[in-house]
């Protein structure tokens, strides 16, 4: 469109708020630096060596002046600090009704899993107007999911889940990039981010038909990997039942109490010795090299769905 693009497109209300902050900060930069540049030029012209000028009583210290150029910029910056920290903290608090999309990063591709079971590679389709929470895991090194149009970015760290969320409000196709250097083809680990209006999104979902949703795939894994042998309600002699645990407190052997969130369920599958539920023996084997991050995410989805089953019963 433009010969030289100067400003990236914005696809969410949040992106416009960031733009506003950046513009305001640029004004501050000008306000803090313009006096320096102007005075430097004025002094250089006025007090050139050999030029006639009034140089009597040249000061070499002035405490009030020193204090004012220490304190005034600091106070101005504090205002910006509060503004920007408030915006940043919002990224940590997704709304409860956010639709969850799982992201798995690996050298050098992005895989997105929709709750209905659709999986896509290097493309992410989302409905506009709907909060979307991304739960991200890495299969190998640290990657970073960067969607410039949303002004968000989050590192994807192996061994844990990180998350981010957004509400896209402008339909269109935007860029996705990996911004954390991740090896040879780092610069080719890109993709497109497609914002569709809800009707189109529903149509897209139905076209890329997938007969089983994520939780059902997890349920299949739960049986085929032998988890059900110990964790099914009928067989709860050796292992705790998982029905209804998601989102609830779990007392541990060590006396701690943790909330069974995505990260806890993930750790319990891959590092089963580390957070053992009170009253049980640490006998579960690790699934570290058995399950891929995608499989683990499917299992997490299944355990979550058990919660809903528990509620309906």
């Amino acid at each position: 469109m433009n010969f030289i693009p100067l400003w990236p497109p914005g696809a969410s209300a949040y992106s416009h708020q960031i733009d506003l902050l950046v513009i305001a900060f640029t004004v501050l930069i000008v306000a803090l630096s313009a006096p320096v540049f102007i005075l430097l030029l004025v002094f250089i012209v006025k007090y050139r060596r050999g030029k006639e000028a009034d140089r009597r009583h040249a000061p070499d210290r002035n405490i009030p002046l020193e204090l004012s150029w220490t304190i005034i910029p600091f106070v101005a910056l504090l205002g910006f600090y509060i503004w920007s920290t408030d915006l940043f903290a919002r990224l940590y608090h997704p709304p409860a009704d956010a639709m969850q999309i799982d992201v798995v990063a690996k050298q050098w591709m992005w895989k997105f899993q929709h709750p209905e079971g659709q999986a896509e590679i290097n493309e992410l389709h989302v409905p506009s107007g709907q909060p979307v929470k991304l739960t991200m895991a890495s299969q190998d090194v640290i990657h970073s999911l960067f969607i410039p149009a949303l002004r968000i970015k989050q590192d994807v760290v192996p061994g844990r889940y990180t998350s981010s969320w957004f509400v896209a409000d402008k339909t269109g196709t935007y860029r996705i990039a990996c911004s954390q250097y991740c090896g040879s083809n780092h610069s080719e680990m890109t993709g497109s981010f497609v914002v569709m209006n809800p009707a189109d999104y529903a149509k897209w979902l139905s076209l890329s038909s997938n007969e089983v949703n994520l939780a059902a795939e997890g349920a299949a894994l739960f049986r085929s990997r032998g988890c059900s042998g110990c964790h099914d309600p009928g067989a709860s002699v050796r292992a705790p039942s998982l029905a209804g645990i998601y989102g609830n407190p779990v007392p541990l052997q060590s006396g701690e109490i943790v909330i069974a969130d995505d990260q806890y369920i993930r750790d319990s599958i891959l590092l089963p010795q580390s957070k053992v539920v009170a009253g049980y023996q640490p006998i579960m084997p690790t699934f570290q090299n058995v399950l891929s991050e995608e499989d683990v995410m499917k299992l997490v989805a299944y355990v979550k769905s058990l919660k809903q089953a528990g509620v309906t019963q």
Binding site: P8, V36, F37, Y47, R49, P59, Q154, Q180, H186, E188
Partner: protein, 556 residues
């Protein structure tokens, strides 16, 4: 020997034709021995400073060659010139060589070595042999680096992030980490030497309140060198062991944490940024005072801000980890502290500006480089504040915005100060004057080339071009071409001083003791200085930058 101190005789010598030697040169440190051995086994801080100058220039051009390759490759969106692996190796070499073999030793090990004893009125550094050892360690590490290059390079980036460096990268990570590990000891020994020297070897009357600001800044830098470098050393050891034996400290599969590496790495590498820029701030204080021929405004504040920057610099490393998965509360604290560290830097800039008020400003090359420094440093610093803002950083983190920001500090700041120092103290080091006109031309080329290279990168970053991208979307091409064009101009500015400064060594006019009419003990001794710096132990009885008193003397 004795008549050297006589300024009249000195003047008479200067008045003669350039090709004849002055008395000063005949007894100078440069003439204290001619054999290679007299240089390689010297413990004279001035000669070691010269050795460092030669070696960092060599490494600078290695790093610059890598940068040239990168910029050439980025002329087109597709990776035409190099493969992805080749490109990754090029920017890793650029980063490793520029950070550890140029920027960190750049000003402290060259001008710091040469000038600190001269400025505080001492015969040498406190531990001269240690000083020489430090240069040998530096060279050993440098050879390791060259070997890494020959052996096929390394592709982790200079940051060695785990688990990429420990489990996935296929270059010579261990060799590269060893090179950086070794050069760390050179840093520690140099820092230690400077700290002890400044504390114990100041000449009578050289109180802390009379210390030149360059010495204050090198002192602050040395504190960082000694306190931060060992943490990098142990981190690199852990990286190498993790790669060799699967230690697991940074491997989540057995309960380790990749973020722990980032914490340890940035605990060194953020203060390291101040290792690179604090000496530059010190140089600029000297150049501004000499250029304006006026006492520096707010000496106490400028000196104190160096120490404040060095101390606060240790509290802000987490601002490199805002999107890494670090805790929200840690991020908020680090963001706040990053604002705090900007304040002392601002204080310096405002004080320099005030120094020019009612000064006698001459537009000699050193002063022009100081002005270049201030312009670029202010812009780099303020964009750095932008990066300290959490919400903005989320968008621009790991993009070309960050690249542009830190090149404004590292290249726009440190290298222009390095050039400023080179043009200011060159007559003292070699005893010859160079062409001032060419110096001015270089400063202008540098300023233009630099801005052309790096300003477009701010735009690229905000548009969303991540750093370390070999292949990029076609809409970013125009800005990248501008940047590469600017780099060519910048390259010219790098090569020009090499020519006219070397020319001046043979054909330049002999320099008087004090070619800039500046204050400071280093200008009271002949150019180049005699082997033991001063004929007699100097005694200081006047405040620093005592320019006004000199003026009154003129009028008497």
């Amino acid at each position: 020997m004795t008549d050297v101190a006589d300024p009249k005789l000195e003047e008479a010598n200067v008045g003669r034709v350039g090709s004849t030697e002055t008395v000063a040169q005949r007894v100078s440190y440069l003439r204290a021995g001619h054999s290679l051995k007299s240089w390689l086994l010297t413990t004279d801080h001035k000669r070691i400073g010269v050795l460092y100058t030669l070696s960092i220039t060599f490494f600078f051009f290695i790093g610059a060659a890598a940068a040239a390759l990168i910029r050439l490759d980025l002329l087109t969106p597709a990776g035409d010139l190099m493969t992805n692996e080749g490109y990754n190796r090029a920017f890793t070499v650029h980063g490793v060589v520029m950070v550890w073999f140029f920027l960190i030793p750049s000003i402290p090990n060259t001008f710091g070595n040469f000038l600190i004893p001269l400025m505080i009125g001492a015969k040498d550094l406190a531990f001269p042999k240690l000083n020489l050892l430090s240069w040998y360690i530096y060279m050993l590490a440098g050879l390791f680096t060259v070997f890494v290059l020959i052996a096929g390079g390394v592709d982790t980036g200079w940051t060695f992030y785990t688990p990429l460096s420990t489990m996935y990268a296929n270059g010579n990570v261990i060799l590269a980490a060893s090179a950086v590990f070794i050069v760390g000891f050179s840093s520690i020994l140099t820092g230690l030497n400077f700290i002890v020297t400044v504390h114990t070897l100041r000449c009578p009357g050289m109180t802390w309140g009379r210390l030149p600001l360059f010495v204050w800044s090198i002192y602050a830098t040395s504190l960082i060198l000694v306190l931060a470098t060992p943490v990098l050393a142990i981190t690199l050891v852990l990286i190498s062991l993790e790669r060799l034996f699967g230690l697991g400290i940074f491997n989540p599969a057995i309960g380790g944490d990749p973020l722990l590496f980032q914490h340890l790495f940035w605990f060194y590498s953020h203060p390291a940024v101040y290792i690179m820029v604090l000496p530059a701030l010190g140089v600029v204080s000297e150049l501004v005072a000499a250029g304006a021929h006026k006492p520096i405004f707010g000496y106490q504040f400028v000196a104190g801000s160096s120490i404040a920057i060095a101390a606060l610099g240790f509290f802000v490393w987490g601002h490199h980890m805002f999107v890494s998965g670090q805790s929200l509360y840690a991020s908020a604290a680090f963001s706040f502290l990053s604002i705090a560290v900007a304040i002392p830097s601002g204080v310096k800039v405002y004080n320099w500006t005030a120094t020019l008020f009612k000064g006698h400003i001459s537009l000699d090359p050193p002063f022009l480089f100081a002005m270049t420094f201030i312009g670029l440093f202010v812009f780099g610093g303020l964009t750095g504040l932008m990066l300290a803002m959490l919400a903005i950083d989320v968008h621009v983190h790991d993009t070309y915005f960050v690249i542009a920001h830190f090149h404004y500090i590292m290249v726009g700041g440190t290298i222009s100060a390095f050039f400023g120092a080179l043009h200011y103290w060159w007559p003292k080091i070699v005893g010859r004057m160079y062409s001032l006109a060419w110096g001015r031309v270089t400063a202008i080329f540098f300023f233009i080339g630099f801005n052309l290279t790096f300003f477009p990168q701010f735009l690229l970053g905000y548009l969303g071009m991540p750093r370390r991208y070999h292949v990029y979307p076609p809409e970013f091409q125009v800005l990248n071409v501008i940047s590469t064009g600017g780099a060519a101009v910048l390259g010219v500015a790098y090569v020009m001083p090499l020519i006219y400064l070397i020319y001046s060594m043979c054909y330049g006019k002999p320099a008087p003791n004090d070619p800039w009419n500046a204050t400071g003990l280093e200008w009271t001794t002949p150019s180049p200085p005699p082997k033991h710096n001063f004929e007699a132990l100097p005694v200081v009885d006047r405040p620093p930058y005592d320019y006004e008193i000199e003026m009154r003397d003129e009028h008497v």
